[in-house]
């Protein structure tokens, strides 16, 4: 198991290097001259040229890429913002927890409501409860989360004045600032979680061991919770992995709407002001976060399914883990 985790961690290195190179190259092709945005419209040609020289923008791209990569991966320095001169790593340290908090809250809402909805739909298959759950799921997929965010702000902040519409708070009172953003980001994931749970449960619920459990007098509650749900968790966890990526990306727009100073607002502002080091550094950090989460998801598989755990433990190479094996 440990060997597997180590292997995965080592494999993340080329991926992160690749992401860094990819984003760096893409940013150099961005239209617009960053020095003009930094110095403003009143700057003279000489000032612009001096700034270009200072930022090293006149050097060939290979040289700049080499310099950037050595800064990031040897000195662990993402540089400073061109615009504000603030150290990027310290900004990320401050902002990443907010984005993670939002993403995890979104995930908890999706899973916490999605799985029960799916279980109800599966138990009451083809009855009205099933239809209600599945219609809810369809609507959840269809609603764009930035639109839902606006509607929630309109209802709960503007009309009812229950929850704050913008910004973040500190301490326990800070939680209420995340309620609307997390709800508006969660609908798509909630819906796919419900649908996945339903179909996984339906696959399992007709299996022989469920009949056996029922016939030996196990209470229906335990049959569903311990026997059926636990065995249908693997496909649900797969969905959770991809969902996390969606949420991390989706958080960027949600943060903009609710003015949460997280990674999303940081990167989008930097994109608009051509602050390349922030976009590059931010992307690297989000890619690392994402890869870590995928690793955790894979480890979760092993936790719920002893068959997969046995595969890792035996250390057999190249044996593909089949979700429904």
């Amino acid at each position: 198991m440990l060997k597997y985790v180590l292997k995965r961690l080592i494999w993340m290195i080329p991926i992160v290097l690749g992401v860094a190179i990819l984003v760096f190259i893409m940013m150099t092709f961005c239209p617009g001259r960053p020095e003009e945005i930094i110095l403003g419209p009143s700057a003279t040609e000489t000032e612009l040229a001096a700034k270009r020289l200072e930022l090293g923008l006149d050097d060939p791209i290979v040289l700049r890429l080499g310099r950037y990569m050595s800064d990031v991966f040897i000195h662990f320095d993402l540089g400073k913002s061109w615009l504000t001169n603030v150290d990027i790593i310290s900004s990320i340290k401050e902002r990443l927890p907010r984005t993670l908090m939002l993403t995890v809250a979104t995930l908890l809402i999706s899973v916490g409501i999605g799985i029960p909805l799916g279980v109800i739909a599966a138990i009451k298959q083809n009855k009205w409860q099933d239809s209600v759950c599945m219609v809810l799921a369809l609507v959840g997929v269809a609603i764009p989360n930035f639109w839902l965010a606006l509607l929630l702000v309109l209802q709960f902040s503007v009309k009812l004045n229950w929850l704050p519409a913008l910004g973040i708070g500190t301490g326990l009172a800070g939680i209420k600032f995340y309620i609307l953003p997390a709800i508006s980001g969660s609908t798509g994931g909630l819906a796919s979680c419900a649908r996945q749970t339903r179909s996984a449960m339906l696959d399992v619920i007709r299996a022989d061991y469920i009949t056996t459990a029922r016939s030996k007098g196990v209470p229906e509650r335990d049959v569903i919770m311990k026997h059926a749900l636990k065995n249908s968790l693997i496909p649900i966890i797969t969905v959770m992995g991809t969902m996390f990526g969606h949420f991390l990306g989706g958080a960027m727009i949600i943060e903009t709407i609710f003015a949460i100073p997280g990674m999303g607002t940081y990167i989008i502002e930097a994109v608009n002001s051509r602050d390349y080091p922030i976009v590059q550094g931010g992307s690297i950090f989000l890619a690392i976060t994402f890869s870590f989460c995928m690793l955790i998801v894979d480890l979760l598989y092993a936790m719920v399914d002893p068959r997969i755990k046995a595969q890792y433990a035996s250390g057999r190479k190249k044996r593909k883990v089949k979700a429904n094996a």
Partner: protein
Amino acid sequence: MPKTTYAKKQSGFATVMKQMSKNKAAMLGLLILSTEIILAILAPYIIPYDYSYMDMANMFAKPSASHLFGCDDMGRDIFSRVLYGARYSISIGIIAVSIGSAIGCTIGAISGFFGGQVDNIIMRLLDIIQAIPGMLLMIVISAVLGPGYFNTIIALSIGSISGMARMLRAQMLKERENEYIEAAQSINCSKFRIITSHLLPNCISPMIVSATMGVAQTITIAAGLSFIGLGVQPPIPEWGAMLSAARQFIRQAPHLVYFPGLAIAVTVLALNLLGDGLRDALDPKLKN
């Protein structure tokens, strides 16, 4: 000699449509979608006002008989704008997914059929792209290309390549093991012929389904990009761009926010219903 009667040969399309016609939800999706597309095509002839016509007297007018959805901050008729916006929003989704699928399928087919080093290199490159959360990738690509209708289409096409490639590859790997491929190889079919006339037709069903769902997703992402100012720019009445402009007037004129969002939601809902129906019709195994 007994006369043999053959069943009338039905095209694949006709079979699928026959299967789908039994599915009420899918038919509803198809109906909504085709109505929307027809309205979008006819939009210039049927909209009551020009979508960019400003009428300051009707600034923030509430929905009424003369302005079904009301008017925006410049007195422009929202109904006309939403209807005209369908041309942009829906076409972005369809074109971007078509381009993305074409490129993605080519890459996936090459990777899945040839295997070995080619497959390895392609898959590792896709690993890198997939390590970047989707929305972030779109934002960076849009920043590189700059805003605008065509650039948004290109950005979204690039973004949808890796998912499509992976999916087709997985299908190919499964399908490649079948006997009929061995048979084709043994009669000396060229690799190109095996891929195009034997493998692809057998892998196409799940691709069609995921492309349909992909259009829905792409429409939402496109609207999201426009919403944060990186996609289609105002005054073009793309739904996301309209929402973005409406956002600052949410207190005084909430109706500005309702209709463009509702349009996105209804379109995405219709596409999802259709996608579900197609999946059931094309591959009964997946039905539960």
